[in-house]
């Protein structure tokens, strides 16, 4: 731990100290009339608690400077948390979550929670939310979405109006001509990243959002170019879910310039700012917990 405004503590918790995480606490809790939620930053894929390009570390410290506590955690089988033998991934995540809640309650008391995660981290947040009334918020980075009626038309427009795509296509053709045939075939094999994810169903996504609405919570969803095969319009998620009052508790950001793992510092800074702005609403009085209007933004 070291920063004048925050402290950090490595935690080994759960059965046999199996799980590993780092608890970040503000040195001075924010002065609000209501209890602030604790952010749980779920690890994604094979990335450990530090997050993609250190995103979770910076996010947890930024949140602490605003007055929020957080736990960035290695789910079992990732980073410094050994796997749980004999369990499916979903069973393992559910068991992890119980232990995360337990350690947070023992350290901080019973507080509302915000689950945050990228990719499979977002998938896990969506699946866990309906089952725990403590969860009042989700930060979903590239969650799943579902195509709407205009999706294909928009995809065509996007494809044929981007000059960089033509340049890129020409470069690839040129490269293909100068690359031995066999190698070229291997290189060009597209990888279906979505197939690697244990995606939540439409019903699960809907149930998660409904739960948050009932709890008067809030959701931030950010879609990068990774999501273009299924998401290409700001507001698409709200449209396909068709939830009454969606704009009052959800913020949706369509950001095709950014890559899935935010490899550019430029984008990471912007993302941190967006999450910080979104989290800032929790600092306002509970009478007005959500932004009054939805912000559907094309970055």
């Amino acid at each position: 731990m070291s920063d004048p405004v925050l402290t950090e503590e490595p935690l080994q918790f759960g059965e046999g100290g199996r799980l590993f995480g780092i608890l970040t606490l503000p040195a001075t809790p924010a002065r609000t009339a209501h209890a602030l939620p604790v952010f749980v930053l779920l690890s994604a894929g094979a990335l450990h608690r530090v997050g993609t390009f250190r995103l979770h570390v910076r996010l947890s410290r930024q949140l602490a400077r605003m007055g929020f506590s957080s736990l960035r955690v290695d789910l079992a089988g990732i980073g410094d948390s050994p796997r749980r033998p004999g369990l499916t991934n979903q069973e393992s995540v559910t068991a992890d979550y119980k232990e995360i809640v337990s350690v947070l309650e023992s350290r901080l008391g019973q507080l509302p929670l915000v689950l945050a995660g990228l990719c499979s981290g977002a998938d896990n947040a969506i699946k866990l939310t309906p089952g725990d009334p403590r969860i009042v918020g989700m930060v979903l980075l590239d969650p799943i979405c579902f195509r709407d009626d205009g999706f294909k038309a928009r995809a065509l427009v996007l494809k044929y109006t981007n000059p960089d795509l033509y340049v890129s296509w020409l470069k690839r053709r040129l490269k293909a001509l100068t690359t031995p045939r066999r190698k070229r075939k291997e290189d060009d094999e597209p990888l279906d990243y979505l197939a690697l994810r244990n995606l939540p169903t439409r019903e699960q996504v809907r149930a998660a959002f409904l739960s948050i609405r009932e709890r008067q919570g809030r959701v931030l969803s950010v879609f990068t170019q990774y999501a273009l095969p299924y998401y290409n319009r700001a507001g698409q998620l709200g449209g396909v879910l068709g939830l009454e009052g969606y704009p009052q508790f959800c913020t949706e950001i369509y950001w095709p310039q950014a890559e899935h793992t935010y490899p550019l510092e430029l984008h990471r800074r912007r993302l941190l700012k967006e999450v910080g702005n979104w989290a800032g609403a929790y600092l306002r009085p509970r009478l007005n917990p959500c932004p009054p209007v939805v912000r559907l933004q094309t970055a």
């Binding site: 731990m1 070291s2 920063d3 004048p4 950090e8 490595p10 080994q12 100290g17 590993f20 780092i22 094979a46 990335l47 450990h48 608690r49 530090v50 993609t52 390009f53 250190r54 570390v57 980073g79 410094d80 981007n162 960089d164 795509l165 890129s168 470069k171 170019q225 095709p256 310039q257 890559e259 793992t261 490899p263 550019l264 510092e265 430029l266």
Partner: protein
Amino acid sequence: MIEAFFFGAGSAQRFATYHPPAAGSGRLLTIICPPLCSEYMRTHLVLRELAIVLSGKGQHVLRFDYRGTGDSFGELAEVGISDWLEDIALAVQEGRELSGCTSVQLLGVRAGALLVCKYAGARDDVQRLVLWDPVPDGAEYLRVLKRVQASIFERNRYLSHRERREAMHEYGGYWLSASMVEGFRSLDASTYSSVPKHKLHVVSTSPAADLPAPGVFQGVAGVAYGWETDLEGPILPQPLLERLTACLTLS
């Protein structure tokens, strides 16, 4: 059971994970000095596995993050090479105090190899240095990061011209301070040759790699990790783990 903690005083503490020996008296301390930037993420799994294997063979092992990286405090754009050399020195001191060991060996990965050699130099209290895919020198490492940056631009077909311009000064997706860039440029190949040859062991995954210090032991693991082309794919422990373990358990 590992022991994780922050160490160092002041406003920039470093994060470390200590693996005590699972068996034996543990007379040897291994300090793992990770690589930087995206390579840090890619190697986290294999370096953790390595620490577990070495502790199983009776060694004390300390993994740590340089300031501005991993779980340590600080921002990459605010630290310099001298800070990282100080971090290595402190990690060695911390490891010695925790373990009670006097014999120390260092593993340096990629740019971490350059840093451990700069730190160790002609010091006689470091028994062995194992370098995994060491970068040739600091200037070349900066060129590698710039090539990585170019590959990010090339694959992102939706990046606006304005963003492209703004991100031009990044190195492999990171902001580096001017003093960091200067610091890397000052680390030339003589950094390696300053270490006595008998202490150096190199594990290279590329048979074509130029050895930073000609004549030192080289173990080729026979795999290619695409340091410049793959920013995210985690490096799986096998078969590299065996080679690194062999080097770090030489008697």
